[in-house]
Amino acid sequence: MATLTMELTLIFDLILLFTLISMAWLLLASTDLFRAVVLFIAFGLLLSLAWVRLGAADVALAEAAIGAGITGALLLVGLGRLGSAERCRFTRVPLTFLQRLSAPLLIGIMIPSITLILVLELRLLADVAPGQQGLVNALLDISGSGHGVTAVLMNFRAWDTLLEKGVLLLALITIWSLDQARPLVHEDEISPQLTGLARLLLPIVIIVAGFVLWQGAHAPGGAFQAGALLSAGILLATLVGYTLPARRQRLSLRLLLTAGFWVFLLIAATTLLTSGYPLSYPQPLAGGLILLIELVATASIATILAAVVVGGHPPDNLSVPEDDSSASPKKRRK
């Protein structure tokens, strides 16, 4: 019975692997950009399934929410901006015999040789190396978090996470410097059905995001996943015509966007002054500090991701009080 189950899971893994590789090939070879984007989203979802099979639930959550969800939305919005003429710019040109032969030949040689090398290498490994898991688990008690991944992200390697927040912010600054945000939807195009769905889903999204954030303390979850969920909620609200009030689009919005980074940076600077090392939290305060960083980071990540998808800085002519057509990210009333 046990061997049968093992063989069944092996078959499932092999099918998943084969589907992933062929889907990656299909999406790269697709001449229709829309098709490629849809395949990319499907690829992201299957990839998160692969992460689940590898036992990395944290990565799976992030991949599904950010890799497939937010990036997919970003690509779709970008595609919409391109217009229909640009979408089919790539036309197939008839290939010569040798050109036609080159791709199968390359794949036919590459994939078997890589597989052979991997199989030979893997046989040398007696067991899968546990990595730093033992060390992390031994230090879990002083980390201020009950979940290994969160402990690594927010304490042991917090410096990396801080810089990640910086990278996100840099990406947004770059996008904002390129263009002014254009409306994602026109007021008269909004389907009443979508409005109904948004009204139903928004409270649920907020609750689930809070749950995912809170759960990060002892199980897979955390600021990035919660932020991605929340940004999906913000985008849904944007799609049914909610906008941020004009007076909130200047300082308040910018504060919210940057808060995750500077609160983190402030804590890093304070710990540097008090203990000599950045982000070495005093032990009794570790849990509270991590929670504070994650709370603020969630809000910032959610707003940044949504603002990235909306694309472009808020409109300059903000003097109009009821500016319904502006498509700036909607901040949830808190």
Partner: protein, 99 residues
């Protein structure tokens, strides 16, 4: 083999024809509206049976509620997305298929 395992297997097998029909419809139906219909209708029921099968195997009632909620959310989202796609197709001038 417990009775609950048998019931789970039975429900999972019952869900298969729905997914098969939905996929066949997606591949073979003549126009976008028919394909949407096949996909959403069949998948919703098939998924319902899968969720029911998993609920029998759940360890606690919290998991049961989470599974039920997942199914309900997918029902609502699926219906809305199908509506949105059909609406956009109609606006773009896709004509329904007539034989």
């Amino acid at each position: 083999m417990l009775l609950s395992d048998l019931l789970t297997a039975l429900l999972l097998f019952c869900s298969l024809p729905f997914f098969l029909a939905g996929t066949l419809g997606l591949l073979r139906f003549p126009d976008l509206y028919c394909r949407l219909h096949a996909l959403t209708k069949a998948d919703n029921l098939g998924l319902g049976l899968v969720v029911l099968a998993l609920m029998i195997q759940a360890d606690s009632w919290q998991v049961v509620i989470r599974l039920l909620l997942t199914w309900l959310l997918i029902l609502v989202a699926g219906a809305t997305v199908a509506h949105l796609i059909a609406r956009k197709a109609q606006q773009d001038g896709h004509q329904p298929w007539r034989h």
